[in-house]
Symmetry: C2
Subunit: 440 residues, 2 copies
């Protein structure tokens, strides 16, 4: 690689907050007033003007803590040569996640792992830009051995070995060109959560439902979990809006205990629910397994993952048959390297990945991963779909593009995570022009 | 309570680091150079000079991130009236752990939960000081209903209900006075990790072994996991030093994958190991269950918990029969309130709690909890023991006192977590006199 000896000059991070709580967009049973935000990383090189950007998604307050963590980790990145990172990405990833003193305040979870994700995602954006490819294409073009070499298999070898992973990827090479062309010409199916945030009125739900039906969407998700009667009302309304041939999913955002989840969902069974998302604590593998088993007779699957903290937790959700849909989050676990390991385990256990998206930059990132999965790993889109919410895309230089309810393949170099300069200037917290005007 | 209307004036936090890495004290297979540290909270009131102190333990770098998190949470604490906290501690605890925006960067794990622990522990220290009781006595004197009212049962009702917990505590009231007197006169048994940190030479191991045998210790723990031959050598040496009638435990600090843990430990079976501690990732419940089952025939139990992030994870370790010894950490999960829920679940599942200690303030705190467990909950010390390491005690105003290898009951008001002023002045990072002298 021509950039082998390029050296990282700086790692900057900014706290960017969009005031989404004002419109109740993104509200759910647990997060009642989110300001969709991110900790936004910029990695610059000594030898070229190419920079990499990466982010981790947050909900407003607390972003400053993730920013502090990224500052603390930056000394592990600045001064490194790109060859030492990309030729040995597995070791570099572990250097970030297992720093001998910082590790204690994780490990591999919460703030410190979100910080790792933002940095790692910026490094992938940078890599793809240097290779002048969109990230999904960079991944697709890798040899099985090279791709697997970026993954830390610590703690997951009882579920998948490196050899098995290589074998899957070798099988994925078969006719890969056909799938690449298909992804470029058709795209990847999306579903929308935008008809059913908790703060929405019936009238607004109908309006949004019509909008997304007209756009060609066939899969819809509602937030549930604060009031059973209201949930029944909203499910009934949703079915009136979307009919019975489209798919309806619901999302409780962790409000229930295990038994409550089971009882509540039984009350919604008549609405032909495809999945119940986040029925309980994201840490409760045993609980999800119980819910999953109890709801199977009603044809309701269990989906979770957006707050699953790392590959070890995903491994167990799969081992325990606790999920029927695996919802990776592109900004939460330790960035692309670790997410790839989850895709490989999901393939091993035969569970479809249906990524979480919607938050700042999540749609932009996750489309790359899901397109790679189709082209190079599972070779199927059956029962798979990417979440879509049309918020904050206008702030990105290379925003997600949806046509006929399908994500269109990004064609520009990078991981689509670069914010426009004016978005940063306006929404930088607390000194961007928007926040200054609010506080005056 | 006379302090019902006392209002919290301020919450201050300091980054305190002790340079323990210089002497290899505390080194293990995963954390090779720890500087035992803490984020140290001081809560002051408007109406009195009584202040509360609490801390969460850290390993040096990264403490600044926890400090940032405590700063972010402090606005939820300052200005509150004590009656609103202590009369409704469950709700207050949830207010800290489930703040609608900050929750996203946890939830209830990693940095943000360590920050909660430090704050909550300071509030308990304050409460005990206002009641002029050591914390263990404050807990012992509570009615079952009052004690249970501080616990958030969210996500654990499938393992233990509030009614069951009250019933356990009612049974615990029987002859409680006898046990209180016994604890005051005799104390609670300790074990030591101090013969076997990884950096120690054979000579130093023998020296430390003799020292602790002379002090009356009967239970010893070694670090293992970097080199099998060395581990065999060290176990052999340990048995030579302590003989075969004393207990030997080993601790791998998470270095192994599941299958590796099983194979490695089979090689150590001849040394009559009581427990293998942290054989693998702290998040791997399924893995611990597998190790536990595989090692049962050799009489080796599995112990973990010091990095278990919350009650939901402890619940599953118990539900899956994954641990034979439950090692709560007084500084990690969300402070006293959540730790009490783990003790109650351990009681329900019949698993002994053997607390992790050794780090800054951990011995000081955990003795209170374990003494409460004996007096008011399990009524037994069978198969139970508290870890002991004699480091950093001299920096506390009311340090742990060991006699005849037993923790002596703290009799002064509070949670024993107040650092001496000179310790703060010396080890405050980066501007304490020690760190200034190092950096010049």
């Amino acid at each position: 690689m021509y950039y082998q000896n390029f050296e990282i000059k700086s790692l900057d991070v900014q706290d960017i907050r969009f005031p989404t709580s004002l419109g109740k967009h993104g509200s759910d049973a647990m997060h009642t007033d989110p300001d969709y935000s991110c900790a936004y990383v910029t990695i610059s090189l000594k030898n070229t003007c190419t920079v990499g950007n990466g982010l981790t998604f947050t909900l407003g307050r607390g972003t400053e803590i993730v920013v502090a963590a990224i500052h603390s980790l930056s000394s592990l990145v600045v001064g490194e040569k790109l060859g030492d990172i990309y030729n040995n990405f597995r070791d570099f990833w572990r250097k970030l996640t297992s720093e001998s003193q910082i590790r204690w305040i994780g490990p591999e979870k919460g703030v410190i792992h979100l910080a790792v994700a933002a940095i790692i995602n910026a490094l992938w954006d940078l890599w793809a830009r240097l290779e002048e490819k969109p990230l999904w294409r960079l991944l697709v073009d890798m040899s099985p051995e090279q791709l697997v070499s970026v993954i830390d298999f610590r703690y997951i070898t009882d579920a998948i070995t490196e050899d098995e992973a290589i074998q899957f990827l070798k099988e994925g090479k078969e006719n890969i060109g056909i799938r690449v062309n298909e992804i470029i010409s058709i795209g990847y199916p999306a579903y929308t959560t935008q008809i059913g945030w908790l703060g929405y009125t019936d009238t607004y739900m109908k309006e949004m439902g019509k909008k997304f039906l007209d756009l060609g969407f066939k899969d819809f998700k509602l937030k549930v979990g604060t009031n059973l009667e209201e949930d029944i009302h909203r499910c009934k309304l949703a079915r009136e809006i979307i009919g019975w041939n489209n798919n309806l999913m619901v999302d409780a955002n962790q409000v229930w205990d295990t038994n409550e989840a089971i009882e509540w969902m039984k009350q919604l069974k008549e609405f032909k629910i495809k999945w119940i998302e986040e029925p309980t604590s994201p840490d409760d593998i045993v609980g999800h397994a119980k819910v999953s088993k109890a709801l199977e007779p009603y044809g309701i699957g269990v989906a979770t993952g957006e707050m699953c903290c790392n590959r070890v937790m995903f491994k167990q959700l799969l081992q325990m048959n606790a999920i029927q849909y695996c919802q990776i989050d592109s900004a939460r676990i330790g960035g692309v390297n670790e997410i790839l390991s989850v895709y490989l385990m999901a393939k091993k256990f035969g569970v479809p990945v249906c990524p979480h998206a919607g938050g700042v930059g999540l749609c932009e990132m996750v489309q790359h991963l899901q397109m790679w999965d189709y082209c190079a790993l599972t070779k199927t889109k059956d029962n798979r779909i990417i979440e879509y919410v049309d918020q904050q895309h206008e702030h990105f230089e290379d925003p997600t593009l949806i046509k006929n309810a399908k994500y269109q393949a990004p064609m520009k170099p990078g991981y689509s995570t670069r914010l426009k300069k004016e978005a940063i200037d306006t929404y930088k917290y607390p000194c961007g022009s928007y926040w200054k005007s609010i506080n005056n």
